[in-house]
Symmetry: C2
Subunit: 326 residues, 2 copies
């Protein structure tokens, strides 16, 4: 196996771009760094002209990143970590926030294909986008079914839904509702609802399913939540995302419903943001760092070898973080 630029970088303890700069004698480098890289190149018997192939011959070193919106701290964290990790590998990221705008997502895919990015990581919500089928680029999906042949990385959504519901039951809740999105066909996140339904069934409890459209504003959602809370005498709510859980907590407080005494709440996602700023929220924690590692590993495998065989689904385990809301 031939020695790669990244091997030199690892050995020298610097980034691949630093190695490339040493080789090309370009930019601001300390004498110490230069020596470290030269030593690593000698130790590994690295031939700089293989670098030319690996760095310059190989596409644009651009990766497209399509997420609903990085203003959602969960996607923001994912984007930051993906960008960091890809930067260390010499790639830059083109960011697309596709929101609920199917047309924008389609245009982006075409633009990315025209720009000849090396690959795409996509975790958007929009459905019915034929370009995913047609774009001839390596694509890895996060938590969404895009097309046959596009591997999906996600958490074990069924396990997460079950864990949350079981926990609410064990904490004494019986009128347990689920607050979730409107169903998207084939989306792995539907499994959160399935996990909930399965536990409710096992305890012979009546499922109480409330679905909110993804494109709904926080304000409208809040109004609806207020009305649900005042009418339905719920004592447990599993929200399939943390932000909805925050709205529930705000509205419960406005209505004088005491959490966790009268109402227990569990969310889903557990970004670092939530862990730092809402440490009291009980939630299902997704393994963000492992997502990032896996998404990039799979994508770069496909970039390296277009028709490499990959699984259809990669499901990573989740865990319950109990805060003060349950």
């Amino acid at each position: 196996m031939s020695v790669k630029l990244t091997d030199v970088a690892k050995k020298a303890g610097v980034s691949p771009t630093t190695v490339s700069r040493v080789i090309n004698n370009y930019g601001y480098l300390s004498q110490k760094t230069i020596e470290k890289v030269h030593r690593a190149m000698e130790d590994l018997n690295y031939q700089p002209n293989s670098m030319a192939r690996s760095l310059q011959g190989k596409g644009t070193q651009l990766i497209g990143l399509i997420f609903p919106s990085v203003s959602n701290p969960f996607f923001g964290e994912l984007a930051v970590k993906i960008e960091h990790r890809l930067f260390d590998k010499g790639y830059k990221v083109i960011l697309c926030n596709s929101g609920n705008d199917t047309e924008k997502e389609r245009e982006y895919l075409r633009m990315l294909a025209a720009n000849k990015v090396d690959g795409i990581i996509a975790g958007a919500h929009n459905l019915g986008i034929p370009e995913y089928q047609n774009v001839d680029l390596p694509i890895i999906s996060f938590d969404r079914y895009l097309d046959k042949g596009i591997p999906i990385v996600s958490s074990d959504n069924f396990q997460g839904g079950s864990l949350a519901t079981e926990h609410l039951y064990q904490r004494g809740s019986r009128r347990i509702a689920v607050f979730t999105g409107t169903n998207e066909s084939d989306s792995p996140t539907n499994e959160r609802l399935e996990g909930y339904l399965s536990v409710m069934k096992s305890y012979h409890l009546q499922p109480l399913v409330y679905q909110f459209p993804l494109e709904q504003s926080a304000f409208l959602k809040e109004t609806e939540i207020s009305s649900i809370l005042s009418k339905n005498n719920l004592d447990g709510i599993f929200c399939t995302d943390d932000l909805t859980a925050l709205l529930v907590l705000n509205k419960a407080s406005d209505l004088g419903i005491s959490v966790p005494d009268q109402l227990k709440v569990v969310g889903y996602d557990s970004s670092e943001f939530i862990q730092n700023y809402y440490p009291y929220l009980s939630t299902i924690s997704q393994p963000v760092d492992q997502f990032v590692d896996l998404l990039i590993d799979l994508l770069l495998k496909r970039v390296e070898k277009k028709d490499i065989e990959l699984e259809a689904n990669y499901q990573l385990p989740v865990q319950l973080l109990q805060g003060k809301t349950s």
Copy 2:
């Protein structure tokens, strides 16, 4: 003045890329869209060959975006809005989260220059980056002094600091502290502190300044905040960013300090995220949409005409949003 592609797009009520696709007869377009665009082109007497100049002749249609981290919802929102607006103008965004990593920011600048992006919007925290002086690209800064000749778009930070402090005083606070970052030379955000100091001086009150390093983890910051709150008997705190205000509220709650009765808290930033999920936080609201318009307008002016004369500073007014924490 010649008619531009964007004029046609506006007239037809579609995006510029849609106009470009109609002209090039490329992609998925409804008959209705095609007709709308053709009608707009006729109405405006638009000559498609000027489009070739404006769309194809002009660089890579890539803009570099350098922010500390889009996992901070304020920067996440800015990034999403900038990306949306630039997309409508036919540009794509390369995202760099520079964090506290000066070396990464420097490498990014060189990579962006090497990739021949059309321009850069930068709002990072790192200091001492000579590349901002050397990179021969249009750059507009958000809220940071980068280099002579690089215009800065920011809120009126002095006004914001004064407003927050004056408000705390009017609400009865006297032992008013400011929680802010460590001083960065020439950074416009220092003016938030100056605004605070000026109001404290006008009332002959003792300033109580607590500075937290930007690279400090939320956990360490929280520990420090806990210790400050238990020792200093503060009755008002102006936090120069909302996230610090959230930590203060969490710690006050842990320590049994009642907000706003015993302690009043005002933040700064007021992203949509905060407005949606922490509507009870009193804060200084920055005009994000106007930031985005201005940043893009200035940048594209420089892209269009490299040596166009621009102001050194563009300060936009802020307002106080009073929630329940003051």
